[in-house]
């Protein structure tokens, strides 16, 4: 039986990913200032932010292709 398409996942992750990108756009100057500082724990910011974006957006893109019916063959 064919699995139902992951619309709820697509919408939830799409909203999460969208919020992250909108925040990055709105606070561009502040983010760039903080993320390029070399003192204290500031260098950890880009290292931590990348997986957060990747998780939200990765779930979104995976659901996107699945909803479109594009998936790998496993057998």
């Amino acid at each position: 039986m064919e699995r139902s398409k992951p619309y709820p996942q697509l919408i939830a992750s799409g909203i999460a990913s969208g919020i992250l990108y909108v925040l990055l756009y709105l606070y561009e100057r502040e983010v760039m200032e903080a993320f390029t500082r070399t003192d204290g724990w500031y260098p950890a910011l880009p290292v931590l932010a990348a997986p957060v974006f990747s998780f939200a957006h990765g779930v979104f893109t995976a659901s996107f292709w699945e909803v479109l019916g594009v998936k790998g063959r496993t057998k």
Binding site: L20, L24, P43, P46, V47, A50, W65, G72, T74
Partner: protein, 355 residues
């Protein structure tokens, strides 16, 4: 070292759209051949005016979470040898660390044109040599009429697999090879060293695993994603300590490339094994030409050549045109191969189960 504001470009809508598009195709290529998106992304960012070192740092930052997503996906299709990936990555991490220092010292001594020249020369040399060899092999497989078969094991790999060094032998199950760690160590180190310079260690890692260790193209390209994750992670920390990561560019690239990488991963389940080599060779050689055209420009900036401003502008344009050509070529070959595989429906979809 504190970054100066001039290191980070003003983002225009056109740049954002271009980054999304090249991120997508770069991701498509990475998902398909294990690495390689970055060799398009670094020069593309440099073409927009991003300094070489910031382009490399930013590329590494977008790459490690992307590689993790790709490795996870390809593991579902049984392509990833996690143990081989981690063993290679351990020595690659040392290579990245050493390479980042070299890169940093070049920038301190010769300034930005020196750093750009180093990155471009590394591109031209590695892409020409390795790309030429991979193309030669792909043509040989095609001419032999055995393009449906899994890869043959090279003579060098057969010798490497036959060498028994007590206490150093390792068995890699998914890759189905047993080799001495003394062979994987230098291979991993070279992969890392290259990654730190041009953000694409895979151009040593993937052909190295294929031709030196005897791993098939499918497993090598998937395992490279594990190495890419570890190297990208280590490299990002190193460059972030110098404040060189442009998080805006990295996240825009990620936005496009996550769409691409998942499509590329799906693509590997539809194509003949030798197609990975064809795509890899085609893109590597075209990008080599693109970067080769930029070398005289950087030499002029360093005062070693005397080119007219108009000639420099023409070279710059031609370099970018070849980059776009490489991108389109890779994307078209992958999509066409996927469609063909989907239509034929009779190609092997998974590696044979290891014994």
């Amino acid at each position: 070292m504190d970054p100066s504001a001039s290191q980070f470009i003003d983002l225009q809508a056109g740049n954002v759209l271009a980054l999304l598009a090249i991120g997508f195709v770069g991701g498509l290529v990475s998902g398909f051949i294990g690495s390689g998106g970055a060799f398009v992304l670094t020069p593309a960012m440099m073409s927009m005016g991003v300094p070489g070192i910031v382009a490399v740092a930013t590329n590494l930052c977008h790459k490690f979470p992307k590689a993790l997503v790709g490795a996870y996906q390809r593991n579902k299709y049984g392509h990833v040898d996690v143990k081989l990936g981690l063993v290679m990555a351990a020595s690659a991490a040392v290579g990245v660390w050493v390479g980042a220092d070299i890169q940093h010292q070049i920038k301190e001594s010769f300034g930005e044109p020196g750093s750009n020249l180093y990155v471009s020369l590394a591109f031209v040399i590695v892409l020409t040599v390795v790309g030429g060899y991979v193309l030669h092999d792909a043509i040989a497989v095609y001419r032999s009429g055995r393009s449906d078969e899994q890869d043959r094991v090279s003579r060098l790999a057969r010798w490497v697999q036959s060498v028994e060094i007590p206490g150093t032998m390792m068995h890699f199950r998914t890759a189905n090879v047993r080799v001495s760690a003394l062979f994987t160590l230098p291979l991993g180190f070279a992969t890392g060293l290259l990654a730190s310079a041009i953000a694409v260690g895979g151009f040593i890692g993937v052909p190295g695993m294929m031709y030196v260790l005897g791993v098939t193209g499918l497993v090598a390209s998937a395992t490279e994603l594990v190495i890419a994750f570890v190297m990208g992670f280590g490299g990002t920390i190193k460059y972030a300590l110098h404040g060189l990561v442009d998080i805006r560019l990295a996240m825009i690239l990620l936005a496009g490339s996550l769409f691409g990488i998942q499509l590329g991963v799906i693509g590997t389940t539809y194509v003949r094994p030798f197609m990975i080599k064809v795509v890899m060779a085609a893109i590597m050689l075209i990008v080599a030409v693109s970067r080769g055209l930029a070398v005289p420009v950087y030499l002029t900036e360093l005062g070693s050549l005397d080119l007219a401003p108009r000639t420099m502008a023409q070279l710059h344009t031609a370099s970018f045109a070849f980059l776009v050509l490489a991108l389109c070529t890779g994307g078209i070959i992958i999509i066409a191969a996927m469609l063909r595989g989907h239509r034929l429906g009779a190609v092997p979809l998974k590696e044979p189960a290891p014994e």
